[in-house]
């Protein structure tokens, strides 16, 4: 994914935030709903309260059965209807239209039933008066005794008690007792015309009472239905509130849990996603600091770290290049330093040698003169025993002095001039000349001489005598190093590009120089020759001469295979103070 860091950060923050907001909104919606439902419950409770009030008045009305209480009941029903009409359409729709229409219908029914009951009650009271009147007349008739059959006063009184009981209790027991009395009265009717009005009025009353009871039952049923409807609505809303209240803590808990688990997860993922390229860079810097400059930052993301990694890599490229060239320079410097140390060592050795030579020369000169004087004196004197022996001994001293002189005079070759007498020299002919000096040695040792000359070499401006000395020393060493072998002398330019430095190599097939002493061979007094055969100064003087002419000398050798000396000579000699 090619996302910028801030995109990544927004994703990391947005997801937990979204969860939190979702939870909050859900909770808000639920609580709002609960509040609304609470309003519904209140409305339902209010209605129920009013229904109960109506029922209370209904009971009063049923008890007193008069117009006053009927009016109060009607007022209450009107109040209920009025209150119902104040409830808004919206609320009605939300609670449930069918509940309200049922409620309204039931109220209307209730109202009609109460009216019917009231009418019945009014008929009842007329009928009751009639019964009482007929009863009193029958009582009077019975007491008069004008009847022709057995109509006892007691029986009539008994009937009247039953009648009163029924009016008072209106229950089945008293009704049954009354029916029994009425059945007895019925038996008398064929004989007693006076009994008929009382019986008829009683029958009418009973039917009226029964009708009232049925009406009352209907009314009570409607009342109960009203109570039930309001109760149902209230219960239903309460239930909803309860379920919401149960759900809300769960939602809140779920959101908290989600935030606690997913939140850190998302933040961690995003953070590591953002940090990953930086971490890789850090790892690489660690490796680099341990010296591995070949490390490069992997470029995977195209966010802000992309350009960082790119410039980091570019920096590393430069650094590596610089490091490499630095290493090369150091290597070069080290070599130069080694050469310098070597040269310095040789120079100081040379100075030391010159100093020693100077100091030795004076006493040597005294020995030389004293010996010479003795020789002179003895030579002039007459023969005496051991004269010749003495003279021989003196010659021995003189020879030793001479040997010392050779050494000290060669040592003085180290004391160098600063200017170089310049001649134009053809190196090839100079080498021919030098080998010419050594012709005899070469011939006697039956050594083959091979020239490997490059023809068009530039002429050298340098000190001819010194150059001769250089090659004389080297070639003489080569001759000394072998019996019948080959000496090959090669000339050429040091490099193809420049014509500034001429390279001469002198290869022999002699016994070679062991590697461990190759670095010593240019030091004064270092020799592998037998005592008395070499001074150990040849190569050190050669070295000094070559350096003085601005050139260089090096050696490559293998034991039993031979030795090659490489002499570099600048075409134009510059005075070099070593």
């Amino acid at each position: 994914m090619n996302l910028k860091i801030w995109h990544k950060m927004i994703i990391g923050i947005a997801i937990p935030s979204f969860i939190a907001i979702l939870g909050g909104v859900l909770t808000y919606v639920y609580i709002k709903d609960v509040k609304k439902r609470q309003g519904f419950v209140l409305i339902a409770d209010d209605l129920k309260e009013q229904v109960l009030e109506v029922r209370r008045n209904e009971k009063n009305f049923v008890h007193y059965k008069n117009k006053e209480h009927f009016d109060i009941l009607n007022t209450e029903i009107g109040q209920l209807e009025k209150n119902l009409s104040t409830i808004s359409e919206k609320t009605i729709n939300e609670i449930g239209e069918e509940n309200f229409s049922r409620f309204r219908k039931t109220i209307l029914e209730y109202f009609n039933l109460s009216n019917a009951l009231f009418e019945n009650y009014q008929n009842e009271s007329i009928s009751t008066e009639k019964v009482r009147e007929e009863g009193r007349e029958l009582e009077a008739f019975a007491v008069s005794g004008k009847h022709a059959f057995e109509l006892s006063t007691n029986f009539v009184l008994h009937l009247r008690i039953l009648e009163k009981n029924y009016m008072l209790y209106r229950d089945k027991k008293s009704l049954d007792a009354l029916h029994k009395g009425l059945a007895e009265l019925k038996n008398l009717i064929p004989f007693c015309n006076e009994c008929i009005p009382y019986a008829d009025s009683l029958h009418k009353l009973i039917s009226l009472y029964e009708k009232s009871g049925a009406a009352l039952n209907e009314l009570q049923g409607a009342g109960n239905a009203l109570e039930k409807i309001t109760g149902e609505v209230a219960d239903r809303e309460r239930q909803k509130i309860n379920s919401f209240l149960n759900l809300t803590p769960r939602i809140v808990l779920a959101v908290i849990l989600l935030l606690c688990t997913l939140g850190p997860f998302f933040v961690y993922e995003t953070a590591s996603y953002i940090v990953a390229p930086i971490k890789r860079l850090v790892d690489i810097t660690k490796k680099i600091s341990e010296g591995d400059l070949s490390q490069r930052a992997a470029i995977k993301e195209h966010d802000e770290t992309y350009s960082l990694a790119m410039s980091f890599n570019t920096m590393l490229d430069h650094l590596q290049l610089m490091h490499q060239s630095l290493e090369k320079s150091i290597e070069l410097l080290r070599k130069k330093q080694e050469q310098l140390v070597e040269a310095e060592k040789l120079a100081s050795l040379g100075k030391f040698a010159v100093g020693v030579a100077h100091e030795i020369n004076n006493p040597l000169a005294i020995i030389n003169e004293k010996t010479g004087l003795i020789k002179d004196v003895i030579g002039m004197s007459d023969d005496f025993p051991l004269k010749n022996k003495l003279l021989d001994t003196l010659v021995g001293i003189s020879d030793s002095v001479n040997r010392c002189r050779v050494i000290t005079h060669r040592l003085l070759g180290f004391a160098r001039r600063t200017d170089i007498p310049v001649e134009i020299i053809d190196i090839n002919s100079l080498l021919k000349e030098v080998t010419g000096f050594l012709e005899k040695d070469i011939f006697y040792k039956s050594i083959k001489l091979k020239f490997n000359f490059t023809d068009d070499l530039p002429p050298i401006e340098s000190d001819k005598i010194q150059l001769q000395q250089v090659f004389l020393n080297i070639i003489k060493n080569a001759i000394d190093a072998m019996e019948d072998g080959v000496i090959e002398i090669t000339t050429g330019m040091k490099s193809r590009e420049s014509r500034d430095i001429i390279m001469v190599s002198i290869r022999d097939t002699g016994h070679g120089i062991p590697e461990e002493i190759q670095k010593n061979i240019f030091e004064p007094f270092f020799t592998t020759k037998q005592k008395g055969k070499g001074t150990g100064l040849g190569l050190s003087i050669t070295y000094g001469l070559v350096k003085r002419l601005g050139g260089n000398i090096s050696v490559k050798s293998r034991v039993n295979e031979g030795t090659t000396f490489f002499v570099e000579i600048p075409v134009k000699a510059e005075a070099v103070k070593v």
């Binding site: 020369n361 000169a365 030389n368 003169e369 002179d376 000290t408 005079h409």
Partner: protein, 152 residues
């Protein structure tokens, strides 16, 4: 050519043992030898008498041989000077030759070589003197001719 005995040599060297022995040996070889032990003595010596050849050391207490050579060439250029030193470097040799030194030998030197050099130096001195005389004679003749011509 003068006989050997007539060649006057002055040895200048601070190394007493050396210079005295050398003087004896040179005397045995029929040279007239005088010895001084430093540069100042050498210079005061040549103010009194004029040697033919001076054998001069370089490194001495007091005046250095090169200074002595310069002084000699200034005041008595006809005296030939051979440097004989134990401290001679190539540079010294160049310097000495440039200042008119006849030759440059290093100690210890072979006695025969030294004697030969002294003779050569003396011959050189004589030749130069002869040339000078010849020039002088030529000049005198010229003058004489001019005078004669004038009188005529």
């Amino acid at each position: 050519m003068k006989k050997k005995k007539d060649i006057k040599v002055l040895l200048v060297d601070d190394e007493v043992e050396f210079v005295d022995t050398l003087a004896q040996r040179l005397k045995m070889r029929d040279l007239l030898v005088d010895v001084v032990y430093n540069g100042e003595q050498a210079l005061s010596f040549i103010r009194k008498t004029s040697p033919d050849v001076i054998v001069l050391d370089l490194k001495m207490p007091g005046l250095h041989g090169i200074e002595v050579l310069k002084e000699i060439k200034k005041s008595a250029s006809e005296i030939q000077v051979i440097i004989l030193t134990g401290h001679g470097t190539d540079k010294d040799e160049d310097e000495a030759r440039r200042l008119g030194g006849f030759d440059f030998l290093r100690k210890p030197a072979d006695i025969d070589l030294l004697v030969a050099k002294i003779k050569e130096a003396f011959a050189e001195k004589v030749e130069r003197a002869m040339t000078a005389i010849a020039f002088a004679e030529e000049g005198a003749l010229d003058t004489a001719r001019k005078i004669i011509k004038k009188e005529e």
